[in-house]
């Protein structure tokens, strides 16, 4: 929960807050390891010279007299003190302590000595840290009076100045290098973050500078790949808003356009009916008014349907096209029979399914059938076909009515477009509702002349669903 608060910090701050202490930790660990390595290296190197001093001391031990004498190699020790840059201590003793020469209280070796194997350990001598080298060997012959072979222990100790200087130099070098690295890394980080964030600042000024009505998508050009999905999501969101606003605007346009004329007509007709005293004529006028009202009600319903398809929430489900076509066609049989039209259905005889919202698809098919039955003359034919081919499935309504002029086919489906060859009253909204629904469902509306270049073939084409349930690509 607390970590979430971090997410609202600026990227620059977060990166610096995480990376800078992180880098310092890494540098700390690295320095510690350098120090250990340097210490090991210093000990390896200086222990060798300590062993040299032990060997020199050993060479000066004499047991020729039966006793034990040590010619102290002072010259060598002095030389050694010079190179060791500090003080040097020594102790030569038999293991039983009978003989002890040198710095008697030099700390003993930490572990039991193995004969002729030098041992080095850190210790403290007179409150001063020292490195002690210890070495034991068996005397060539035991001291006079000693029955068994006897070991002699030689110890040389030095103060740590030169080792420490060596280690310090190495660690300081490493520290300088690491500090340079941290500073360079921090600098690069600041530069890189600043540079990476610049497109976002540009984006901000660009969006701020827009006018309220400007709902064009934001250009993802030059936007970092990480932020591009965000820009795309916002674009998508804005686009949906734009479409809804557009739909609303269209509805207002449609309503004002479509309702003004019929209402004006109705006012005129009602006025006429009121003035007419002849009951027969008055009745005729009332019939005309009813016809006008029926038409206005239908238009209003269509406009509302269109507005709904523009803005309704989509809840798609699997739809069996055969079943849907059959249901809708059955609804229109009575109307077709009244108009003397032969309405037929040619199902696919196989599961043809699409992903769609069934109510909307029914509305679209109903509209197509309404158009076909209305414009096809008495005695004509209207056929509903369900087919699938490859990845597509479709429902087509084929009639042998007047059709649409080939040059007007491209404009058919636009709002309020009406074919030049129709005389019947209409809104010019039917096809545009179908087109709107089909496009909303992810399909397309194809308009073409019917068989033998007569009538119209209106096809709703949609991506088919395979038996597994997947929409084919």
């Amino acid at each position: 929960m607390k970590l979430d608060a971090w997410h609202s910090l600026s990227l620059r701050r977060t990166l610096l807050l995480v990376l800078f202490p992180g880098l310092l930790l890494v540098v700390g660990a690295e320095l510690w390891s350098t120090w250990r390595t340097a210490l090991d290296a210093a000990n390896a190197a200086y222990d060798r010279s300590l062993l040299g001093a032990i060997k020199a001391m050993d060479a000066n031990i004499s047991t020729a007299s039966g006793g034990l004498g040590v010619e102290l190699p002072y010259r060598m020790l002095e030389f050694f003190e010079l190179t060791a840059n500090g003080r040097v201590y020594y102790r030569v003793a038999t293991e039983d302590g009978l003989v002890e020469v040198g710095n008697a209280d030099l700390p003993p070796p930490r572990r039991p000595l193995v004969t002729e194997q030098p041992q080095f350990s850190d210790a403290s001598y007179f409150d001063e840290p020292v490195r002690v080298g210890s070495y034991a060997r068996v005397l060539d012959r035991p001291l006079a009076g000693h029955p068994a072979p006897q070991r002699i222990v030689i110890q040389v100790a030095e103060t740590l100045q030169s080792r420490q200087a060596f280690t310090r130099a190495l660690v300081l070098q490493s520290l300088a290098r690491d500090l340079a690295l941290v500073i360079a890394a921090a600098g690069l980080l600041v530069l890189a973050v600043g540079w990476a964030l610049r497109p976002l600042a540009r984006l901000r000024t660009e969006v701020q500078a827009r006018r309220a009505q400007d709902l064009r998508p934001i250009s993802p050009q030059g936007i970092p790949a990480d932020v591009r999905p965000l820009v795309e999501a916002i674009n998508h969101h804005v686009e949906r808003n734009r479409q809804q606003t557009e739909a609303r605007r269209r509805f207002v346009d449609d309503a004002s356009h479509q309702l003004r004329t019929p209402l004006a007509t109705l006012v005129t007709q009602v006025g006429f009916a009121l003035r007419e005293s002849n009951p027969a004529l008055q009745r005729e006028a009332l019939a005309a008014i009813k016809s006008q009202l029926d038409e206005t009600v239908r238009q209003t319903n269509q406009m509302l349907a269109l507005a709904r398809t523009d803005s309704a929430e989509l809840v798609p489900e699997q739809v069996d096209l055969d079943a849907l076509a059959q249901e809708v066609t059955r609804e229109w049989w009575a109307e077709a029979r009244a108009g003397g039209i032969d309405l037929g259905l040619e199902p696919a005889r196989g599961a043809v399914r699409v992903l769609a919202q069934p109510t909307l698809l029914k509305e679209a098919l109903s509209n197509l059938l309404h158009n076909a039955i209305r414009y096809t003359p008495r005695g004509g034919r209207v056929t509903v076909q369900v087919r699938s081919a490859g990845p597509r499935a479709w429902i087509a309504v084929v009639d042998d009515g007047p059709g649409i002029q080939p040059e007007e086919l491209a404009r058919a489906g636009e709002r309020f477009f009406r074919g030049s060859n129709v005389r019947l009253p209409g809104t010019g909204l039917g096809l545009s509702i179908v087109k709107s629904i089909v496009e909303r469902l992810g399909g397309e509306l194809l308009l073409a002349p019917g068989p033998e270049a007569r009538g119209l073939r209106a096809t709703i084409s949609m991506p088919a669903i395979e038996s597994g349930g997947e929409v084919r690509a």
Partner: protein
């Protein structure tokens, strides 16, 4: 009289020359250190006195067996050469101190025949000629200022008599003896060499030894002697520790012992010879030359003295918290 005396001399000389298996034939003195120290001095006194007094026919041979301020030699005599009647071994008060602390291995003061004490010496505080230290007070001040800067050299390790002298000095100045920096040497000769080389700053050695070394040209200076009154001879100008306000006396007897299996007869020959020799003025002259003060004891008298002395050292070692050997 003259003839008689000459005859006597001849008889004595013949007896010495013909006594092939006698203890005084082909004599050897073991100095349990390297040449140049107090043991060497003791052996050399016996060597020249015996020769000058014609108590031996051939000059006494001096051999050196360094190791543990006499410990190695003591072990060698008791364990390996216990019946060598013609070998005497030099000892000093330091040897007795070590015996008291059990530093001579598994042996104690009852394991040899104590033969003769030929003189006494006194502890001395010695520095290099060019040392900035001019008195005991300077020394104590320097130790108090920085104990690590003043390194004490000593013949023998912690608990040896040289250490004991330094420790007594430190104690009388109110310092902890264990805080002193200390370097052990195999005898006083080495210590004086190290002193002149600047490897140690102070050597708590012996007065006679210092006097001998100075005569031989060593560049050293004596700060104090640990005697009850000023010494005679060339060290007469050196004040005692007491004079300088430090109540320390450290006499050191020097003498000889022989192996435990040397027969009573041979032991008696040696003891009588030493008694006779030490009564001569020639011996006294040689003793004074070597800076030793009169202290002549032989036989049972010495034996009793040695044992009393070891008992005293036991209590002293106890005072300093050192290891103490159990008396048998």
């Amino acid at each position: 009289m003259n003839r008689k005396a000459a005859l006597m001399t001849l008889v004595l000389a013949c007896a010495a020359a013909t006594a092939v298996a006698g203890p005084l034939d082909k004599t050897e003195c073991i100095a349990p250190a390297k040449p140049g120290g107090g043991f060497d001095l003791t052996c050399k006194l016996a060597q020249s006195s015996l020769m000058q007094g014609k108590f031996v026919a051939d000059p006494m041979r001096i051999t050196y067996m360094p190791g543990g301020i006499g410990a190695v030699a003591y072990n060698a005599i008791v364990a390996q050469r216990p019946a060598e009647a013609n070998t005497i071994v030099a000892f000093s008060g330091g040897s007795l101190l070590n015996l008291a602390q059990g530093k001579f291995g598994r042996y104690n003061e009852n394991d040899v025949h104590w033969l003769a004490a030929v003189g006494s010496d006194f502890g001395a505080i010695i520095v290099a000629e060019g040392s900035p230290l001019k008195s005991m007070k300077d020394l104590v001040a320097a130790v108090k200022a920085d104990p690590t800067k003043v390194v004490f050299g000593a013949g023998g390790t912690v608990g040896s008599q040289d250490w004991m002298k330094a420790a007594l000095t430190a104690r009388s100045a109110g310092l902890n003896p264990k805080s002193m920096r200390f370097v052990a040497f195999e005898g006083g000769g080495e210590a004086i060499t190290a002193l002149q080389g600047g490897h140690v700053q102070v050597y708590s050695g012996d007065a006679s030894e210092a006097e001998q070394q100075m005569k031989a040209g060593a560049k050293i200076r004596v700060l104090a002697v640990m005697s009850d009154k000023r010494l005679e001879g060339s060290l007469a100008g050196v004040p005692t520790a007491k004079e300088q306000g430090f109540d320390i006396e450290w006499p050191i007897i020097r003498g000889f012992y022989v192996g435990p299996k040397v027969s009573d007869a041979d032991y008696k020959v040696w003891a009588d010879t030493f008694s006779k020799m030490m009564a001569t003025p020639e011996f006294n002259k040689l003793r004074v030359e070597r800076g030793l003060f009169p202290f002549a004891k032989t036989g049972p008298e010495l034996d009793a003295y040695v044992k009393a002395r070891v008992a005293y050292y036991r209590t002293l070692a106890k005072d300093f918290g050192l290891n103490v050997a159990v008396a048998k």
